[in-house]
């Protein structure tokens, strides 16, 4: 499978996720193109975060197949048949994906620099010096070049989240997932994190999926917005269209409610 083919970077094919009797995602079909930036919005419980978690393999899927960069991730070909992926296959495909979490999930016992060098050294086997150079570069990029030796507890929420972005980028992913990355931050700290994501979008050829409540940011940054409702994509389209003239009644309701809250 060559990188030049124009297969989508991510493809959800009839993906279903259930928690017991509750169907969180129902026959989801979604394609994300190479370098595309997709914002996922919707009311809580609509399954939007689950989409990212399944793609990061944090949740098993109950039906369908997830494709990444032209090959199945949740499954693998064996004797001409699709079988559930073995751990080795999962790890290989997963290496193309990075994720930033709502609550940062930084390693509290490591400095900002060590947070960013740990996986490149243990997983990719980079020598310390190279890993540290790469990490320092990334911390500079997120504006924290002077905080390398700080522990997460010594950083503000916005700074921690920027370290988390640098940590994910240090693994050189092709796809970045952002799961409500500003929801745990005080309002005045959101800007610095969004600014970093903006920069990433303009300077790198990353495919991005983000679950967000920041409608303004979604409108300005995303190529496409998907509105989730009750485990399905209720409406999707270019942000301009979806935000100014939503066709679906649910979308209208949701956007009205969000705007009222501002």
């Amino acid at each position: 499978m060559s990188a030049t083919t124009n297969h989508p970077m991510v493809r959800f094919e009839g993906v279903t996720k259930r928690y017991g009797a509750l169907t969180v995602l129902d026959d989801l079909n979604l394609e994300v193109g190479r370098g595309e930036k997709v914002a996922i919005i919707g009311p809580s419980g609509s399954g939007k975060t689950t989409v990212l978690r399944m793609l990061m393999t944090l949740e098993r899927i109950d039906g369908g197949v997830i494709w990444v960069d032209g090959e199945p991730m949740t499954h693998m070909q064996k004797n001409g048949q699709m079988v559930p992926a073995e751990p080795k296959h999962l790890r290989r495909v997963r290496s193309k994906i990075g994720m930033v979490f709502q609550h940062f999930n930084l390693f509290p016992h490591m400095t900002a620099l060590a947070n960013c060098t740990e996986a490149p050294m243990t997983v990719l086997g980079l020598p310390r010096r190279e890993a540290e150079e790469r990490a320092a570069e990334l911390l500079n990029m997120v504006g924290l070049g002077d905080k390398k030796g700080h522990y997460p507890a010594q950083l503000s929420g916005g700074q921690q989240q920027r370290v988390a972005i640098a940590r994910a980028l240090a693994m050189r992913p092709k796809i970045m997932l952002f799961d409500e990355v500003t929801s745990a931050l005080d309002p005045e700290l959101c800007g610095e994190v969004l600014q970093v994501i903006r920069k990433l979008g303009s300077e790198h050829d990353l495919t991005m999926l983000m679950v967000t409540h920041q409608m303004g940011f979604a409108k300005e940054f995303a190529d496409r917005v998907c509105f989730f409702y009750q485990g399905k994509i209720c409406e999707q389209g270019e942000p301009k269209e979806l935000f100014t003239a939503p066709k679906n009644e649910r979308t209208q309701q949701f956007l009205r409610a969000v705007l009222e809250a501002v």
């Binding site: 979490f101 999930n105 016992h109 400095t111 740990e118 997983v123 507890a153």
Partner: protein, 242 residues
């Protein structure tokens, strides 16, 4: 209690021993007791080492092992927690030789007490590992680490901090349990106190000195564990971050 008051208590106990040794034959008793105390210290140190190894192994087997390993770990923990430490020592010392395996009393003491405390420790380790926030595991998955890499580099170092206070308890428990080895012919601190008392009948000073000696040893453990906790918390969020 803070480090200062603990240290003050330790110094007070040492001074009390020193003052008592000025009177009568107490200095003589004390030197006899100290020979026993040295054995107590050795059994405590080696037993603690064995307990930590057993506890970590059993906890990891129980959490992440294949079913037979999990079963083995559960059996170990329940058996050694659920039976008397003294009977365990008797069994190792008096019964095992009947099956052709005999060990010197020192080895029996270390093995018996180490296995016993290790069984309690296994639950401490398991609880601490499970207490690490789920988000930490998720971060390691997102960074494509294997389970072993995640455990070794991310989860266990954080669990370690949470384990220190309960391990402090267990080490002190082990220290006090070493008195049991006096019943399998070892001349530890308790055994010495008893024999000196049998020959001199100076009950009050002998057993008071023995108590103070145990106190000095347990306070040393407490202070050591406090110091360890402080050192490993340096820079880190107290009580672990998410």
């Amino acid at each position: 209690m803070g480090m200062f008051s603990l240290s003050a208590m330790l110094v007070a106990a040492l001074i009390a021993i020193a003052i008592m040794s000025l009177f009568g034959d107490n200095a003589l008793f004390m030197s006899g007791l100290l020979q026993g105390a040295w054995l107590t210290v050795q059994i405590t140190l080696l037993g603690s080492l064995l307990a930590v190894i057993m506890a970590t192994t059993a906890a990891l087997f129980r959490l992440y092992g294949a079913p037979p390993l999990r079963w083995l770990a559960v059996t170990y923990v329940e058996f050694f927690r659920g039976t008397s430490a003294l009977v365990q020592l008797f069994w190792l010392f008096f019964v095992l030789p009947l099956f052709g395996i005999s060990m010197d009393p020192f080895s029996v003491g270390v093995l018996g007490l180490g296995l016993n405390i290790g069984a309690y420790g296994a639950e401490v380790v398991r609880g601490a590992v499970q207490g690490v926030h789920r988000g930490q595991w998720e971060a390691t998955t997102a960074l494509n680490m294997t389970r072993w890499q995640a455990l070794k580099r991310i989860i266990l170092p954080q669990a370690f901090v949470a384990m220190i206070p309960p391990w402090g308890n267990l080490f002190i428990e082990l220290l006090k349990s070493t008195a049991l080895v006096s019943l399998i012919t070892m001349s530890d601190l308790t055994f010495r106190a008893k024999t000196i008392n049998d020959t001199t009948m100076q009950t009050i000073p002998i057993f008071t000195l023995a108590l103070l000696t145990y106190l000095v040893m347990s306070l040393t453990i407490t202070i050591g564990m406090r110091w360890l906790e402080r050192a490993s918390l340096r820079g880190m969020v107290r009580g672990r971050g998410r």
